[in-house]
Amino acid sequence: MNRGRRISAEAAARRALLIDVLCALALAIAALTLCAGLGIVGVIAVLTLIAIGLWFAIEALINALKRR
């Protein structure tokens, strides 16, 4: 019987990070190739960063409220 090799939690996290980085690079290359120009890519990237920043901030706020 072929049993899967057990890996540590750290190794699983590193593997997940690698997959995410590759996915992000593929997404970035697709955006840079398909968009009308660097300007549009930049605007979308900045808006994405703002949205993710807000997401982090709201998450942190909710966690802080839960700890009270």
Binding site: L27, A31, A36, G37, L38, G39, I40, V41, I44, A45
Partner: protein, 367 residues
């Protein structure tokens, strides 16, 4: 979900690396406009033209002026007071008939732009209120004597973007300033006007039939035409700068001044912004007009009222609209056509990004 967020975060950072390099590189180049304007120009040149135009449309529509308002008591002073006595042979344009009554002192009256211009001033200036619905708006108009002057197309540092063997330094060369009487803004950037350019007799951007064209010949003769000579440079043409369809042709306003793709990738024609245009009268003299809060139609009406029989729109927005005269030889005492013009009167005496036109006295003509 957190992994999705991480992927998008990393992708955004990856996208910002080439974008940031391009942006920083563009901003490091020599500019004589603020960082905000340069950033918008960078965005326009990098695929964001439609986005910028949409934002501009939205902004200018929200900040559109209201009709009416308190009547003006005076007009801005333009030109110099003494016009001298014109000999009978010298043609001078008739006064621009005021639209709003009672007329204000000096409204529509032509005044010489330069001191000591004698009896045949090469450039005359006037102002008048151009729209009864907006009695606070003042249009500035300049008349340029084509017989005494020579029009020159001067490339800017960044516009036109095509490689040019004789780009120059984006300013009026010091050697040409002794005879300089006026400078004014060019048209839309080639990328947004879908138009052509001939410079020094060579096609730099393919000429487009049907487009309004400032057409200058090697002998100094200048005309404004609807181009119908095909993509190549005809013999004798020294420069030809195209910009959108004509707004006036053979004395009539273009019946299609409403929006459409033929008017370039920019704000809607009905949006009120700083606009400028160049026309030609029936004697072959040039007429430049500029004013804030104009639609394409109201700009065309200003030029028509000033005597233009053919005209085209030039650049728009406060950052790009300039008409500058010089009171004394050597480009001394530069002044804007209208005091509220945003850019410095020294604009074309230092390197500028955009292309422009200079007006100099012909050889044999004196101040």
């Amino acid at each position: 979900m957190r992994r999705v967020r991480r992927v998008f975060l990393l992708a955004a950072i990856a996208c910002l690396i080439p974008t940031g390099i391009s942006y920083v590189s563009a901003m490091s180049e020599k500019h004589n406009v603020g960082l905000g304007v340069s950033s918008v120009e960078w965005l326009r040149q990098n695929g964001g033209n439609s986005l910028v135009s949409e934002v501009e449309n939205w902004y200018y529509t929200l900040t559109a002026p209201e009709k009416g308002g308190a009547p003006l008591r005076s007009l801005p002073q333009v030109g110099i007071a003494s016009a001298g006595t014109a000999p009978k042979k010298a043609y001078k344009p008739p006064r621009v008939t005021p639209i709003i009554h009672p007329a204000l002192p000096g409204e529509g009256v032509w005044k010489p732009a330069g001191a000591g211009a004698g009896s045949e001033p090469p450039v005359l200036l006037t102002t008048f209120r151009s729209d009864p619905s907006y009695p606070q708006f003042v249009a500035g108009v300049a008349w340029i004597d084509s017989a005494r002057t020579r029009l020159k197309y001067v490339p800017g540092l960044a516009e036109p973007p095509e490689p040019l063997a004789h780009r120059g330094s984006g300013e009026v060369p010091p050697s040409e300033r002794k005879r300089l009487v006026a400078t004014f803004n060019g048209g839309f950037p080639l990328e947004t006007s879908n138009a052509g350019l001939i410079y020094r007799g060579q096609v730099k951007e393919t000429m487009v039939n049907g487009i309004a064209t400032i057409d200058a010949y090697r002998n100094g003769q200048v005309n404004i035409v609807r181009w119908h000579q095909g993509p190549d440079a005809p013999a004798g043409v020294w420069f030809a700068k195209q910009n959108l369809p004509p707004i006036i042709y053979e004395g009539r306003l273009n019946p299609n001044l409403s929006d459409g793709p033929e008017w370039g990738e920019t704000v809607n024609n009905a949006v009120r912004v700083w606009r400028s245009g160049l026309g030609i009268d029936r004697h072959g003299n040039l007429l430049y007009a500029a004013a804030n809060y104009q639609t394409v139609e109201s700009l065309a009406t200003i030029l028509q009222r000033a005597g233009a029989i053919r005209a085209l729109e030039l650049d728009i927005n406060e950052d790009w609209t300039s008409f500058i005269t010089y009171r004394h030889p050597g480009a001394l005492e530069a002044s804007n056509l209208l005091p509220e013009m945003f850019r410095s009167p020294e604009r074309y005496l230092v390197p500028d990004e955009r292309d422009f036109f200079s007006v100099s006295l012909r050889r044999g003509q004196h101040w």
